[in-house]
């Protein structure tokens, strides 16, 4: 399985400690950063970790699986 496949499936590597977040209605990167980091201003960390699927930090889609670094 390729790294891309693993990421799309939310990480199937048995040693992977990566955290994934499935985008829900009303989510923004800032809200997600607030939840995981306590600080919404760190949203760019999530954006940078998901550049392979995100083009714009303001555009996320419901159902997308984002890696939380």
């Amino acid at each position: 399985m390729s790294e891309k496949d693993k990421k799309e499936k939310g990480g199937s590597d048995s040693w992977s400690a990566e955290q994934w977040h499935e985008v829900k209605k009303g989510d923004t990167l800032s809200k997600i950063a607030e939840h995981y980091y306590g600080d919404g201003s760190l949203y760019m960390k999530i954006f940078e970790a998901n550049r392979n699927i995100l083009k714009d930090p303001n555009l996320i889609k419901v159902g997308q699986k984002l890696r939380i670094p």
Binding site: S14, W15, S16, A17, E18, Q19, Y37, G38, D39
Partner: protein
């Protein structure tokens, strides 16, 4: 008079035969002890690292045989020493099996632990920049996670040194300790624990 002479001759011959037999057994016991000692010394350096208890037990058997030899019990010394080379063969087979098992475990840890560490380092780095910690993490717990990470990183370096030095058993034991520490840190940080680290 003739009877006395005859009896004396018979006794001399008997004593001679006994002494010859004794000397023969002594020589056999001596050779068997040397062979046993050689067999043990050939595997000892590696066995001490992988199956220390087994090599210690064999050395105990050898020392026991030497003690019997020293006390003049050559027959018992021969009997004890003769079984040692066979036991060394068993030990080598057991050592190779253990070595394979430890190598497999180490390979698994060596591939997995850096992944856990990277994920933790990344999260700790980000949380260190955060103006406020997430709801499920207190400042004290975060400090505990950071010191746990430092400790695990140091332990991982010593585990790798043990592996490089051929101390497979020690490397795996230390690697498992690192794994446990990393799991604790992941739990503190509210991160998922990898399936492979749960076993």
């Amino acid at each position: 008079m003739r009877k006395i002479v005859l009896l004396s001759v018979v006794m001399i011959v008997a004593v001679g035969l006994i002494l010859t037999g004794c000397s023969k057994v002594k020589g056999q016991a001596d050779a068997a002890l040397k062979a046993a000692e050689k067999a043990i010394s050939e595997v000892k350096p590696e066995a001490e690292k992988i199956v220390p208890d087994q090599i210690k037990a064999l050395e105990g058997t050898l020392n026991g045989a030497k003690e019997k030899f020293g006390k003049g019990d050559y027959k018992a010394a021969l009997s004890d020493a003769q079984v040692i080379p066979g036991k060394v063969k068993d030990l080598v087979a057991s050592m190779n099996a253990k070595k394979d098992e430890l190598t497999k475990t180490w390979t698994d840890l060596d591939q997995g632990i850096p992944k856990m560490m990277d994920a933790i380092k990344s999260r700790v780095g980000i949380l260190s920049q955060s103006k406020k910690l997430p709801a499920n993490l207190t400042k004290e717990k975060f400090e505990e996670a950071k010191s746990g990470l430092d400790s695990a990183l140091k332990d991982w370096e010593t585990a790798k040194e043990s592996f490089k030095g051929g101390m497979l058993g020690e490397a795996v034991a230390k690697g498992n300790t690192v794994k446990e520490k990393a799991v604790q840190v992941l739990e503190i940080l509210g991160m998922p624990v990898p399936a492979a680290a749960k076993s």
